[in-house]
Symmetry: C2
Subunit: 318 residues, 2 copies
């Protein structure tokens, strides 16, 4: 259920218009991290996510095992964002002819490692030939009280769970191609190579948060999804966000010549969680980075109270 770039958004809009999701079982269709189905007394959350060579990953910087692990964690992150317990996953692989037996085995080992870590067994799939390596993972979970994007209310705090900006910094360090000289830089690269779906934290938000989603498109962009789904204004407080950022980010980001705050707003592939809820309900693992107000849009508020708009799909790299 990830949206990447404006053309993808347009394509989703086109498809939303021709598709009808009316059904007695469908509680929530296109537009959240995952769909919600009611089946008997169960509420299921269900997602699909594609990792495509040269779009979502580059084989120069990832082993086959990391590619498998990363694709799996990215899909399971949608379940985390809904506060769900994973039931299982299916994986559809497209394998180019040049991929060797050893590489296929490595890819599977990476998927299996993520499956064990997340407690989400990989229970089947499909393999087909193609010219580009791609991994589509569908993950299913159950959630008695799923967290949606559309529940944020004016007066809520804005919560960040997990690091944000590190993974993007790691990718830039790899693109730069210089040897990694500090623990912070190695941590940034590891954050990009081996992100972890925040399942425990996602379930810990249930009963506390009013809305949640995972940060895959960048904190700025995903705050925009939250704002539109809930019809509210989202205010990111610069000082609070800066305080919430991991210490390693400031150190690692210096080398790529960026400001940690901008990097955090643009970065997404750490698969952090963004949530909103009443101040008194905030769990210990969540940092308050702003607030929800009446209105619309996403705003970055400076210490002096001035604001600038963060547009949809905000990305300072353009």
């Amino acid at each position: 259920m990830k949206r990447r770039g404006v053309s993808e958004l347009e394509a989703i809009e086109l498809l939303r218009r021709v598709l009808s999701s009316r059904s007695p079982h469908v509680e929530l269709g296109i537009g959240d991290d995952a769909a919600i189905l009611s089946v008997g007394r169960q509420r299921l959350v269900w997602t699909v996510d594609t990792s495509q060579e040269d779009v979502h990953f580059d084989r120069r910087w990832l082993s086959m095992s990391e590619i498998g692990e990363r694709a799996f964690e990215a899909a399971v992150s949608d379940l985390a964002a809904m506060g769900a317990e994973p039931l299982g996953a299916l994986s559809a692989l497209t394998l180019p002819r040049h991929v060797s037996e050893r590489e296929i085995r490595e890819l599977g080992r990476g998927q299996a490692r993520a499956a064990r870590r997340t407690g989400c067994p990989l229970i089947g799939g499909n393999i087909s030939r193609g010219n580009e390596l791609s991994i589509t993972t569908s993950a299913l979970g159950r959630a008695p009280r799923p967290l949606r994007r559309d529940g944020a209310r004016p007066g809520d705090e804005l919560w960040l769970v997990g690091p944000v900006g590190l993974a993007r910094t790691g990718l830039e360090l790899l693109r730069w191609g210089k040897p990694l000289v500090s623990a912070a830089e190695r941590r940034a690269v590891a954050a990009w190579r081996r992100p972890k779906a925040l399942l425990v934290e996602g379930r810990g938000l249930v009963g506390r948060a009013r809305a949640a989603l995972d940060v895959s498109d960048g904190l700025g962009g995903d705050a925009g999804h939250l704002s539109r789904a809930s019809s509210v204004a989202v205010v990111v407080e610069a000082t609070a966000l800066r305080r919430a950022l991991p210490r390693s980010l400031a150190s690692a980001v210096a080398r790529v010549g960026r400001d940690p705050l901008e990097q955090a707003l643009a970065g997404g592939e750490d698969y952090a969680l963004l949530a909103t809820g009443p101040a008194k309900a905030r769990p210990a693992f969540a940092r308050c980075i702003g607030r929800v107000e009446r209105g619309e849009g996403v705003w970055l508020e400076a210490p002096d109270g001035t604001r600038r708009a963060l547009g949809p799909g905000f990305d300072h790299l353009g």
Copy 2:
């Protein structure tokens, strides 16, 4: 959960060895048309299937709407084979840059048409960029008593539900490129372009059949899957199969210079169902085309009782 060609089979074997599907919810993992999950009192069947340009379809012979419809029906056919009632589907699209807005809309309309026909709402998905058009559809259903591949017993009849061989004939007529001169030829092309998942028939097999699967790899190849999963010999009776073939097949196949029987054994994309069960339980819509015996392998039995083996992945076109 389709297997296509020997290399895909090998890849599945490699992955099966590194993946573990042990989980309290997983009743059946890799190796059937769909996985089976037990969640509370519900039994869910779940599949994923990829349609890839130049592997599973050719845009010269299909409109975008037909591509969408076909990919959807192929995935839902796995639910039909398990005797399941569809709950919904997710679709992951990989769209090359040259695909226009109009074409995306057409693709979605084709998916929506199949969703309406099958009663399986398309409730979400994922869109990403790539150089090859591909559609991965995950379909979820519920089945209190799912039909599996591993239940066939010696003494069972072998049942065919739906046409087989027509779709392959249609594809060959298109490849040939001559104008279609008869209703039978047009029917064959329609069978390939717009296959229909046999959901009603699949549910009608529940309580009657002991095993079932859909015919996607060719009747011969899929009988092999049934034989291996159930550890039995499958005997296809040539006379009975010939009698069960649609009349239009004999007429359409003449133009491509093949024998209808061989075409039926090699053809798969009609998405017919193959099942086994006791003679007295056979529903009116199923044709008996052979029997299940102790032993192994798939055998074609001539009227004089002589047999020849149909190997795994049997395909007379090589």
